[in-house]
Symmetry: C2
Subunit: 219 residues, 2 copies
Amino acid sequence: MKFPHRFRDPAWAQLALTHRSAGKPNNERLEFLGDALLGAIIAELLYEVHPKASEGELSRLRAQLVNGNALAVVARELELGDELKLGPGELKSGGFRRDSILADAFEALVAAVYEDAGFDPCRSLVRDLFGERVAALRRSSKDAKTRLQEHLQSGGWPLPQYELVASHGEDHAKTFDVTCRITEPVELVAEATAGSRRAAEQDAAETVLGQLLELARES
Amino acid sequence: MKFPHRFRDPAWAQLALTHRSAGKPNNERLEFLGDALLGAIIAELLYEVHPKASEGELSRLRAQLVNGNALAVVARELELGDELKLGPGELKSGGFRRDSILADAFEALVAAVYEDAGFDPCRSLVRDLFGERVAALRRSSKDAKTRLQEHLQSGGWPLPQYELVASHGEDHAKTFDVTCRITEPVELVAEATAGSRRAAEQDAAETVLGQLLELARES
């Protein structure tokens, strides 16, 4: 294993590498904590690196970095696979669940570092592992409405509906409240306010897209 | 405002309290970061306080603490309302969006403390604010399958389907892999492994319920 932290208490690493198929205690609870820590540390990194990105865009970028496939890639680079403690069933059935098992173990290891050494070492480790990935992730050149539309079309779902809810202010400084609503694959509504109707639609679409990708990450 | 942190740089507090209706820069990006930090700090607190809770149960407990309504209650206790910087439209329309605006400002303030003073002061503040709330939150006496069923029925959605995917091992130490699948309000599948089919069903139901509540929190 090439994991870049030397544990003071190796029991944390062992727990993080124990899949539920091997019985209890296993890494499921640590994975919950690690997922949350990873989410926060990557949020901070994106917040710094993309000072102009909207909330929805930050959320979408994070979902690209923190999902089962992407984390399994990190886990493979760290060669976590050989260290996993699996039950006999998983050992036999082998490959097909491998990605999610690796991703979960990586998240659990992030929490294990936190428990072993505290926030700063945990944060440094995550930033070292993700710094280049974050830099490589470009903000999309397509606008959010286009990306949302393409995402919905790829799943065969209905297109989003935009609605102007209200406008405020004098003509020279008007703001527009717009909602973006989708019904499938899940019902979501986001509202945004901006200085033009089009800009508010873009912001609302970005938020909906971010939530959709976040949901895909969780399920 | 009774917010228990004295900012070295008050610009962070001002940014956190500026709603998007007041123009840019506003608190939307800080809210993204604050939501993530809050999620991680509350995850750690629940992990400590409930050493026996499963991942799904931890997730469900967190969703009860970190949602728009619950955070608006905290924000009111801290008297954030009077300090909010709103645009003219929001000032006139008043009440009805107030809860989400307050909750967002609270999340943004959590991130503002992080930026102003670092992780430890931010963590202490959140733990002080949520310690009693966490203690008051009891683990439900109803089992997870019952709670999931009740939740789905309350929305008029179809009941979950449980499926035994595989069993492993010798008779005296058998483990069961079970999936829990729902189709509405969103399609979700969770898999769990346990020493009995019933226990695996409970764990899978808990995970699905946690994801559903998490989704409700985000949208």
